[in-house]
Amino acid sequence: MSATSHAAAEHAESEMGAPGATVIHAAGLSKRYGKTVALDNTRFDVHAGRIVGLIGPNGAGKTTALKAILGLTDFEGELSVLGLDPRKERPALMQQVCFIADVATLPRWITVSQAVDFVAGIHPRFDRGKCGRFLKRTKLQPNQRVREMSKGMIVQLHLAIVMAIDARLLVLDEPTLGLDILYRKQFYQSLLEDYFDENKTILVTTHQVEEIEHILTDLMFIRDGKIVLDTPMDALGERFAEVLVNADRTEAARALHPLDERQVFGKSIFLFDGVAPAQLAQLGEVRRPSVADLFVATMKGTYA
């Protein structure tokens, strides 16, 4: 590694240390694969100490956005991660950024102890003792090879390694896909209890929105390569509301331009964006929409 990128990494560390600082800044971010537009002149910011869910249908550009952030793909536009350019300063960036992309991507030939030895050997921010403590909680044996493990055990190993790295940004791309519910719950619980703090930032994509809804601090929806919703979870309840409307009030509800309308047991459920609560209360029972319902309403017609 060159001296300049070292200096850049240190510079980034001092500047990005404070909670709330910008961890990722993207503007005019575009990426094309042939004629397919994966990212369409999009902009977003991610701040330190947040857990951001990047949610979108298949092919919306989630993975491309993550790959751009991780320096795995070229792109057009402006993107800085911890003050570094992921295209040019990847090795320096990866000292501060970690990712679990997809489940079970550990090499099949490696043993638990080899994986730990290797990361301890090359990663300046890896804490071997910490990793050992995480591994003690599992049934993994030092000489066990990845090819002898179940999918859930592979994720346990990967997570133990990743959580022992003192990274500023952790990127998770569908980290629990195909795992059973026990492993999925354990995965997010470990992250919250043993890893996340105000100096760390987690960016996660998943289809299992219900499971991460309660841990997110921020929500981003991506559709056709554009960020279509970017809101803190706190503000979600203020901005969006779901109203259970009796049949006689549906016309009045429709007049307020709902995002979505669906029928459940003869009643209509309307989803509103930015309508005054007092106005909605007159229509029926108001509640906070689930991220899943909000997602379905926002993405309506994506596959049509």
Partner: protein, 325 residues
């Protein structure tokens, strides 16, 4: 390179060893073991035959083995030593054949297998440069694997000599005089060791070529690496048939296709053509150090190395930017 990147490179090479240990260590090990086992089988067969025929000694041309060896003239001994040299060379040649196959398939898989099973995403999640990663694979192929093989050659030779010594002792012959009193076989071994750097530089075009396909293609790197030079060669013949300017057949297959595919064969730079004065065999079964040094003065060596380095640079570029959508 600072101390940290040296340590990182060490770990990268160690990782290659972990992954390819079966090829780097066990393949040459079992090849050497096979020679030793055949030696033991031969000795056992001889002893059994001796016992069946009710003989006390093994006779060769009417003289018992112990008599013959104990009365051996210095001329006979020098013949015997040549036999020892040949044993060393046998281990060396078998190791070279095994190593050629191991390295060929190792390089084809080196930048492909982890893309196929997606574990590249794990390696890419660590602070490793793609240059370091690719160079660690080059190093493993042309330095680490040959050194292990040369080590196994020595171990295999010593093991056979111990077995032969025990057998000679059992027949009342002093093994010190015949087996251990000679340094020539070890000189052969030093020559094998000295060939490693020559082989390494000579192998660069093949190394680069195989790594390039390993890094670049979406599937079947083996087919691409083989078919491209063959199709190009056939087209070259066709262009020649049309009477258009083309590359000479000998030059193409020998200096282009051959170098891209077969330069990783240890000692493939040795020119056995009597007309060439580039290579001098010092004594029986060894290539002189002068001949090795001279190899570095040939244009084939350096043009090949330059092409190899360019191909490796291309492989690094693909490793960095290949985007599996």
């Amino acid at each position: 390179m600072n101390a940290h990147s040296m340590t990182t490179f060490g770990w990268l090479v160690k990782r290659e060893y972990w992954e390819a240990r079966r090829g780097f260590l066990w393949a040459p090990f079992w090849a050497a073991a096979a020679i030793i086992i055949i030696t033991i089988l031969g000795i056992v067969a001889g002893e059994v035959m001796k016992a069946r025929m009710g003989m006390e000694h093994i006779y060769m041309g009417g003289v018992s083995l112990s008599q013959m060896l104990n009365q051996a003239s210095s001329d006979d001994i020098s013949q015997f030593v040549k036999g020892l040299d040949a044993t060393m060379l046998l281990f060396g040649s078998i190791a070279a054949v095994v190593l050629s196959f191991v390295i060929f398939f190792y390089l084809l898989g080196a930048l492909y297998d982890d893309r196929r099973d997606r574990s590249i995403l794990f390696w890419k999640s660590l602070p490793l440069s793609d240059t370091g990663t690719v160079l660690s694979k080059v190093f493993a192929a042309i330095v680490l694997a040959p050194l292990i093989a040369v080590g196994i050659v020595l171990a295999g030779y010593l093991a056979t000599q111990v077995i032969v010594s025990l057998w000679l002792l059992a027949h009342g012959v002093n093994p010190l005089r015949f087996v251990w009193g000679h340094i020539e076989p070890f000189s052969v071994w030093l020559h094998l060791l000295a060939m490693v750097p020559v082989d390494a530089v000579w192998a660069l075009p093949s190394v680069g070529w195989l790594l390039l396909w390993s890094a670049a293609v979406r599937s079947k790197p083996f087919l691409w690496a083989i078919i491209v030079p063959i199709v190009a060669g056939v087209l070259n013949i066709w262009v020649g048939l049309l009477g258009l300017p083309h590359i000479g057949q000998d030059f193409y297959w020998g200096q282009v296709a051959g170098r891209l595919l077969l330069s990783i064969v240890p000692g493939s730079w040795i020119n056995l053509d009597g007309a060439s004065h580039a290579i001098h065999f010092g004594e029986f079964s060894r290539i002189s150090y002068a001949a090795m040094a001279q190899q570095f003065a040939t244009p084939q060596m350096w043009i090949g190395a330059a092409v190899g380095i360019a191909l490796i640079a291309a492989a690094i570029w693909f490793r960095r930017w290949r985007d599996e959508a």
